[in-house]
């Protein structure tokens, strides 16, 4: 075979590979055509050492003001009573529980990305898991406020719902889904926190090693828990991480399943339905990914980490949103069908009232945001145009909030006996609490991206090495195969070698 022919074949193979392979998980930077550990460290950790940015300060000021608003709203609620909210009889649960479920749902993306995708060895999770996990954690913190605040006597609710051994021998009611919620949400919070923190340890050690000044070294050193980066430490670390992923995986399904039981277990038309667990979980993932997109698209730009969170990541998240959006749409359709097919008049009316009742605009908004908007992601353009994705993700967030409002409030406000029907109007406190938790969430996110690496740096470095090895292996194999007269891309190229790494 002539050298020309070989070169030709090689060029063709390269072209074929370029066509077959999607863009890299780690893109070259502006001034560095090829990333190495140094450039990754620099691009992903260095911004922590930089002086505080004025824009960041402004945003923090704004969101902190919102936290102040939240504090005031909480004080008013606890001081004066739940009457400060719009809740009434029949609508015992208004914005409070709507917000709770919305936030818990948003928290689902983190665990899904970090745990399930890890177990499925999805490499693309690496660049986004840290950010999503932090988001999960903060979302659960926001969510956790509402079940406590929405009770009439939060000072008692905060511990009476836990099965502590009281001298009176009074136990909580284990038949109540709210009781299950306590376990589900607290387990979820604990696991998410551990998972997130465990993942942070190697990066904290990196920060410790690179930090200038005693205070920084002390703080990061304390948080790094004496991480040395030895092979032994990595071995334990990996096992622990995998175990936590194993524990967290069922939680992705269980938390929202149990949250959905709050409604499915009741006798209320519009609530009492077996479709809720899968439909709630899908909705949660849907909203979680939407929130990741909403926050990550600006964050990757501002933090200049577009080389590790690439367009390919965004596109894949869009696909997840499309899938879960379709599941949710199916859920809506089945609910409506079941209400008609069940021949249960109360059930029928509950869904008729969603479509045609006084609060129907929320239902139509929900249908538009959750069923129409995600269809944008069928198109390549829709998945890759960042503005389109960003706007769509915000619509989905709104749509999922509406979904919860529709399920909880619209079902409650007109139930069995028309005599007890009433309208629901939120108060300024309701709005302040919701806006306040959004601000609390953003404040925590801002603090997070300022003082901690927003991307799992050690994992990126690992991924880079894996990819480099894979590329080398592929080259070699291709060369060998060419020598043996065979063409194409070897499957073995995808097998990732296991390697010990530096911290």
């Amino acid at each position: 075979m002539s050298a020309v022919a070989i070169a030709d074949v090689r060029a063709k193979a390269q072209q074929a590979r370029a066509e077959l392979e999607p863009p890299a998980w780690i893109a070259p930077g502006e001034n560095q055509p090829k990333q190495d550990d140094g450039t990754i460290n620099k691009s992903l950790l260095d911004y922590i050492w930089k002086n505080t940015d004025e824009g960041w300060l402004k945003m923090l000021g704004l969101t902190s003001a919102g936290v102040g608003l939240l504090t005031v709203a909480i004080i008013i609620t606890v001081w004066k009573g739940i009457g400060m909210w719009g809740n009434n009889i029949p609508v015992g649960w208004g914005w409070g529980i709507t917000n709770f479920v919305w936030w818990i749902g948003i928290g689902h993306a983190g665990t899904l990305i970090s745990a399930i995708l890890l177990l499925f060895q999805q490499k693309w999770r690496t660049s986004i898991n840290r950010f999503a996990e932090a988001m999960t954690l903060f979302a659960v913190v926001c969510a956790g406020l509402f079940p406590i605040l929405h009770t009439g006597r939060p000072w008692l609710a905060i511990y009476w719902l836990f099965p502590y051994p009281s001298t009176m021998w009074i136990w909580p009611n284990f038949k109540s889904p709210l009781m299950w919620d306590v376990f589900a949400v607290s387990t979820y919070l604990t696991t998410s926190l551990l998972f997130w923190f465990l993942g942070l340890i190697p990066d904290l050690a990196s920060l410790r090693d690179a930090s200038v000044g005693r205070t920084r070294r002390m703080v990061y050193g304390f948080l790094a828990l004496g991480w040395t980066g030895s092979a032994r430490a990595w071995n334990h670390y990996k096992i622990a991480y995998l175990l936590l992923a194993g524990i967290a995986t069922p939680l992705v399904l269980s938390v929202h399943t149990i949250v959905s039981f709050d409604f499915a277990v009741s006798v209320m038309p519009g609530w009492h339905t077996t479709i809720f667990p899968p439909y709630f979980v899908a909705g949660a993932v849907f909203s979680g990914f939407a929130m990741v997109c909403t926050l990550m698209l600006p964050a990757r730009k501002i933090l200049k980490i577009e080389h590790v969170i690439t367009a390919r990541h965004i596109e894949l998240m869009c696909k997840v949103m499309l899938l879960t959006g379709l599941i949710v749409t199916y859920g809506y359709a089945m609910e409506q069908f079941a209400s008609f097919y069940s021949a249960n008049p109360y059930e029928y009316f509950a869904f008729y009232n969603r479509r045609a009742g006084p609060m129907a605009p929320f239902w139509y908004l929900m249908m538009f945001c959750n069923c129409v908007v995600p269809n944008l992601f069928w198109t390549k353009w829709g998945r890759t145009n960042l503005w389109a994705v960003w706007v769509a993700s915000i619509f989905i967030n709104i749509g999922m909030w509406c979904e919860r409002f529709v399920i909880f409030v619209i079902s409650l406000h007109r139930d069995f006996l028309p005599s007890s029907w009433a309208a629901f109007h939120p108060t300024i406190i309701d709005i302040s609490l919701f806006v306040g938790t959004i601000c609390l969430f953003l404040t925590l996110m801002l603090l997070f991206v300022r003082f901690l690496p927003a991307v799992a740096v050690s994992e990126i470095k690992e991924l880079r090495l894996e990819m480099e090895h894979a590329a080398h292996a592929a080259h070699e194999a291709a060369a060998k195969n060419l020598g043996a007269g065979a063409g194409g891309v070897p499957a073995a190229a995808h097998a990732a070698p296991i390697s010990g790494k530096e911290a």
């Binding site: 015992g92 009770t151 009074i170 209320m268």
Partner: protein, 1009 residues
């Protein structure tokens, strides 16, 4: 540290030395050696060897731990919340029968409208907390109206007037008495020529005797009675028909056909409780012949809702309708007396003619067993037509009785007041004593009574509040509450009824009798002395000797009334004068929108305006709270292009008021109904003031009940959100719902009750049925008996310490009533049927609220009650969300923390006052169950059926509610659960409620089908 030594520490000292060490030895060597070794051996195992030697610092481990424990405990004590100091004072002399915590019951009475209703008051340590009907009293038969129930709260109103005042200055009561006595002496000189009394309508024998004595002293003095709810048309008709002031006494027990011409006798208003009971007793086809009720009325009323046939008619059409009815009856019966009316045939609409044809036939068919009853709004000619029909059909003497009025001043309407006003204007009145309720507010607007009153040189007002009238009089004297007064009065059938106080006047109030006696120099006798003296005198006059020696007095007071004192002085119509009163020609038609006034079910003539229980009580029809509204029919509202909550200006001639539109199905076309008693401007009544609008501003002496043609126009840009507890949702909105069921008499008799049968019976369950031991409490509610009068709601509020929440909270749908009355319309908007259904906690055996509570705060008892544990409730409201009946109520705010000391006195000590953030609901009056249980246990007897009554059951004038145990197959409630009309509310859900409903029965006339 020497003192520490002296502390006796458990188990420490002495024990080690209990046995001399020398006794213990392990070997001979050891024993021989003794000394230090022996000590060391002992120390190895000795008790307390682990302790620090005492000699060191005097503190052992044990004593250290004990002391630390004690210090920690004491430190903890110091940190405890300091409880407010409370004084406990024992009785130095125990009053007879008073056991702290145990209720005593006394009979007493209320005199609304001048007629007595016998009551039983419950009192705890001298503090009345509940009023119920006196079952033996003919006007109550055990039932009460919402007003009687609510009057209890008024006793503890902190805004009550408490001081005698002269032109705004506080004065001693003694000063007042001295001045009045001096004035009396002056008046005595000219026979009281310029002395006038404006009295509350009354039938009291005590007041009668005082008036007699005053008349003897001041022969030229005049007594005038006035009420703003006077039955003016009747007074005129009575004079025309009987030549005397008579009254109508109905006996509905034997009435087969009842025609009500705008007579609202099923609303629990004063004087109608016995009618309600008699009516209800005839509404079960299986228990006897059913009666049939026809109602013709301008607006929707509870009576109209219960009617078998209802016709909405404009007030101006009522005369023609009465003429038409009279003419038809005359033609059918061919009675001689009625022959003169046979030509009456006014022009009527086809619908009206058809209705009257059927009604007239039915009335005649049941001659002697029918009734035509007329309400207070109707003019004299309608009353006369009814008198004619009742007399001619032989009803009078059987179902209807016309007898001389029992009131002192039967003419208590605008004419009497106008005569007094004319005298005042002419300067003929020097001294005016006012005991009538707030005439400045209640008088027709054209009299400008406030101004006139101010012009009287000496005026005295005995009032419960420093109200509009108090502001215009020289002297103001606080009135005692009914429960603070001795008094008497006559029941509608003439039975002498006694009122005894339950408590000494809280705010120095005096009674009307005391005020009158002050002119006789007998004010110091007190209300008891006066009553006693009057009855002593009367007894002597009757030849029964001294009351003290006769056993009568004690018995009368204990019973609350004197048995067998019902009497009637019958009158017969004079047909000639009667005929003149009925116009033969067509009455003048009223063009445009016709305005008319209505008695309010809650504030009545305005006197209950400051009563928060009644203000927040939903109106039986509109379900409005806290104010009145301008009621328009849907079609009229549409034509006027106004919507609910719009503010409109209602103009009658030169007078006008602004009110809020309320769209009322069943309202007659082109009319506006205006409830009286609101729009108060009383300085002393902060709650009553500013609520709603004063429809009375449109009232004149000539347009007392009907304002005639009015203009209704929208006030641009103004609206007022009305606080309704229930909106106008149709029962069948969106889907058909089996909620409040009704059937016809034929369907019940032939047992064709598919829908009822579908909603009862056993249900499949995966679980073993629970075996309830002891008792199985249950309740039955007969919709055939329930008229929706709402007495039960107020009774429940009083019994269970239910807070009121205010208009804003009601608008937010946060009212706290444990028991609500659901009102549904059926059929068209213009001529709907109405049904009322009381709904409280259904005490489900399979309760959806119980399993969802995360803290076990609502649990099931072994007798099947669904209990609330307030202390345990954290307020998740999950139970309420999951309650299909939505009967749970939540304390969104701290509704009970701002009660004043006086207000706290109304609380039932057997029921917890709930705190903020806690869920509450109907308990089947569990405190009453437990009280009876304790009593029977102490007495060593068993609880029998009928021993336990819930508060709603006690109050219900028509006995629609029955409570008892299902384990006793012979109990009243067990029998009712086996009734063919029994059904369960929302049976499909499988909650297995313990409260069952009995479908309403209607007895329609086939001729109107």
């Amino acid at each position: 540290m020497a003192t520490l030594h002296s502390l006796p520490v458990f188990d420490e000292k002495g024990k080690t030395n209990q046995r001399p060490l020398s006794v213990l030895w392990r070997s001979l060597e050891e024993r021989i050696r003794g000394g230090a070794d022996r000590q060391a051996v002992a120390a190895e195992f000795a008790l307390g060897a682990a302790e620090l030697p005492e000699a060191n610092n005097g503190t052992s481990r044990r004593s250290f731990v004990q002391l630390m424990g004690a210090s920690a405990a004491l430190a903890g004590l110091a940190a405890c919340v300091r409880k407010p100091r409370e004084q406990i004072l024992g009785y130095t002399r125990q009053p007879e029968g008073v056991v702290p915590g145990k209720a005593l019951h006394y009979s007493t009475a209320s005199f609304l409208g001048g007629r007595a209703t016998g009551l039983i008051a419950t009192s705890y340590e001298g503090r009345p907390t509940k009023l119920d009907g006196n079952p033996a009293h003919p006007a109550s038969l055990g039932g009460t109206g919402a007003l009687d129930q609510g009057s209890l709260l008024q006793l503890y109103d902190p805004q009550r007037a408490s001081v005698v005042k002269s032109r705004g200055q506080e004065r001693a009561y003694h000063t007042f008495l001295v001045e009045q006595l001096a004035r009396a002496n002056q008046h005595a000189q000219n026979g009281g020529e310029t002395l006038r009394f404006l009295m509350e309508p009354s039938s009291s024998p005590l007041l009668a005797s005082l008036r007699e004595r005053l008349r003897a002293q001041f022969p030229k003095a005049k007594f005038v009675s006035y009420t703003s709810l006077a039955n003016e048309g009747w007074q005129e008709a009575s004079e025309a028909a009987f030549g005397a002031q008579a009254e109508t006494r109905l006996d509905l027990r034997d009435a087969d056909v009842i025609a009500s011409l705008d007579f609202d006798f099923l609303a629990g208003l004063p004087g109608t409780l016995a009618h309600q009971r008699a009516y209800a007793d005839r509404r079960d086809p299986k228990a006897g012949e059913m009666n049939r009720l026809y109602v013709i009325e301008p607006g929707m009323s509870p009576t109209g809702g219960m009617a078998d046939h209802r016709l909405a008619a404009r007030p101006s059409e009522m005369i023609a309708i009465a003429q038409g009815l009279l003419g038809r009856v005359a033609r059918i019966t061919k009675s001689n007396d009625l022959a003169r009316f046979a030509n009456l045939n006014p022009a009527l609409s086809a619908q009206q003619s058809r209705f009257l044809d059927a009604l007239a036939t039915d009335l005649v068919r049941s001659a002697g067993k029918s009734i035509v009853a007329v309400g207070e709004r109707q003019p004299a000619s309608v009353h006369l037509a009814a008198i004619a029909i009742n007399s001619a059909l032989g009803n009078s003497g059987k179902t209807v009785r016309y007898a001389r009025s029992l009131l002192h001043d039967p003419e208590d309407g605008p004419k009497a007041l106008a005569a007094l006003a004319a005298e005042i204007k002419a300067g003929k009145v020097d001294t005016l004593f006012v005991t009538a309720h707030n005439p400045v507010y209640g008088a027709p607007a054209d009299l400008e009574f406030g101004k006139l009153l101010k012009s009287v040189p000496n005026s005295v007002y005995l009032g419960y509040y420093e109200d509009e009238t108090a502001a215009q009089t020289n002297w103001f004297v606080p009135l005692a509450h009914d429960l603070e007064s001795w008094g008497d009065g006559l029941a509608p059938d003439g039975t002498v009824t006694f009122q005894q106080p339950l408590i000494a006047p809280l705010f120095n109030g005096v009674t009307a009798a005391e005020l009158l006696a002050s002119l006789l120099g007998e004010a110091d006798k007190g209300s008891y002395g006066l009553l006693r003296a009057a009855w002593d005198a009367r007894n002597k006059a009757l030849g029964q000797g001294d009351l003290v020696s006769s056993a009568n007095w004690e018995k009368w007071i204990a019973d609350g009334f004197a048995a067998n004192t019902a009497h009637a002085d019958d009158v017969v119509p004079n047909w000639a004068t009667l005929e003149k009163g009925i116009p033969s020609g067509a009455p003048a038609a009223v063009s445009g929108i016709e305005g008319y006034f209505a008695t309010d079910y809650k504030v009545w003539d305005g006197r209950f305006g400051n009563n928060v229980w009644l203000q927040e009580l939903p109106d039986p029809i509109t379900k409005l709270t806290w104010e009145n509204a301008a009621l328009l029919s849907p079609a009229t509202a549409k034509r006027l292009n106004v919507a609910q909550n719009d503010v409109v200006e209602i103009k009658a001639g030169t007078r006008s008021v602004r009110g809020t539109v309320f769209i009322q199905p069943g309202q007659s076309p082109e009319t506006v109904q205006l409830a009286l008693g609101y729009g108060r401007a009383s300085a002393g009544e902060q709650i009553a003031s500013g609520k709603g609008f004063n429809a009375g501003e449109l009232r004149t002496t000539s347009t007392f009940w009907s304002a005639g043609s009015v203009e209704v126009s929208r006030v641009a840009g103004e609206s007022n959100t009305l606080a309704q507890t229930q909106e106008h949702h149709n029962m069948d909105e969106g889907i058909h719902r089996a909620i409040a069921l009704q059937a016809t008499k034929e369907e019940v008799e032939s047992n064709k009750l598919e829908e009822v049968q579908d909603n009862r019976g056993p249900q499949t369950s995966m679980y073993e049925p629970v075996k309830y031991e002891g008792f199985k409490w249950a309740m039955s509610i007969d919709l055939s008996r329930c008229t929706g009068c709402s007495a039960c709601m107020t009774a429940c509020q009083a019994e269970n310490n239910i807070p009121v929440v205010g208009k804003e909270q009601v608008i937010k749908s946060r009212e706290m009533h444990w028991l609500r009355l659901d009102r549904y319309y059926m059929g068209s908007e213009d001529a709907p049927e109405m049904i009322t259904q009381p709904v409280m906690c259904q005490q489900c055996e399979n309760a959806p609220c119980e399993y969802v509570c995360p803290v076990n705060a609502t649990v099931h008892t072994d007798e099947g009650l669904n209990d609330m544990v307030y202390n345990r409730c954290v307020g998740t409201r999950y139970c309420s969300n999951n309650c299909p009946y939505k009967v749970r109520r939540f304390n969104f705010f701290s509704y009970t923390s701002d009660y004043s000391d006086v207000e706290k006195m109304v609380m039932n000590p057997d029921v917890t006052v709930r705190a903020r953030g806690v869920m509450e609901k109907c308990t089947y009056c569990v405190q009453r169950i437990e009280r009876v249980r304790i009593e029977t246990r102490v007495a060593g007897t068993e609880i029998k059926d009928g021993d336990i009554h819930t508060a709603c059951q006690d109050a219900c004038p028509s006995q629609a509610i029955v409570f008892g145990s299902l384990h006793d197959p012979e109990s009243a409630v067990s029998k009712l659960t086996r009734n063919t009309r029994r059904y369960d509310l929302l049976h499909d859900i499988g909650t297995r409620p313990r409260t069952v409903y009995l479908a309403r029965v209607k007895n329609p006339n086939k001729e109107l089908a």
